[in-house]
Amino acid sequence: MNPQNSRPEDLLYRPHMSFWWWLQKRNYFLFMVRELSAVFVGLFALISLVGVYRLSQGEDTYQLYLSALQTPAARVLFVVILLFSLYHTLTWIHLTPMIMVMRIGSKTVPPILVLIASYLAWMVISLILFYLLMVD
């Protein structure tokens, strides 16, 4: 490498990392699980997008989509999506008090209160949505 032609970032020291570095420590592994939860969160958005597309194609096509949602493969997929989705929710709620320091006047709201409020909000929102989804 010729330093004169290099951008500054090319000169940074970069330790060689194995592809499997995230299996070396429990915390690395949990970090990777947390980051990969986004894959399943995105997958659910994609499945919903397919649903909207199928809906636009008419009732017969949409019926095929609804049938596909009830296959054994869909069962496995949605259980996996649910597990990662819950893990995303837990990690996201626990990170919020660290990132957002809430202040009222000159006093800092204790992080534990932010945490409890987040859990309560999640439960209330979920119950309301559950009702709206299930009841006509």
Binding site: E35, V39, V41, A45, L55, S85, L129
Partner: protein
């Protein structure tokens, strides 16, 4: 964790954060009802039936809701997956990885907008 980027693009981070918050609070109940529930037969597929969905999507507020429910988690995915790929060794492909990830999210967002706002 390695030093990731020198300048964080606030737009991508904002979308990531909005998508993460939306997914954290809204997604599990959607997955339970319309995903796991329908797949295992605990919830009637009538919840997602054609007439019901068509009727619901006549409401512009529900169009916007479903649009956000699709678009923001896609941007959340894009931002996280971008750094997963770089952490797994694609650090030399920074630009193509970013274009691919945010590109998928943008295409998904565009499709969702066209379908939801123009068709229904």
């Amino acid at each position: 964790m390695a030093v990731r980027v020198k300048t964080i693009d606030p737009i991508w981070w904002g979308l990531f954060s909005a998508g993460g918050t939306l997914a954290a609070f809204l997604l599990p109940v959607h997955v339970i009802v319309t995903g796991v529930g329908i797949a295992f037969g605990w919830v009637s597929p009538q919840v997602l039936s054609y007439p019901r969905m068509i009727a619901l999507l006549e409401n512009p507020l529900l169009q916007i809701y479903l649009f956000l429910l699709i678009s923001l988690p896609l941007f959340h995915w894009a931002h996280r997956f971008r750094f997963v790929l770089m952490d797994l060794g694609l650090r030399n492909l920074k630009t193509p990885v970013a274009v691919l990830c945010y590109g998928v999210a943008m295409v998904g967002t565009l499709l969702a907008a066209l379908l939801l706002f123009l068709f229904f």
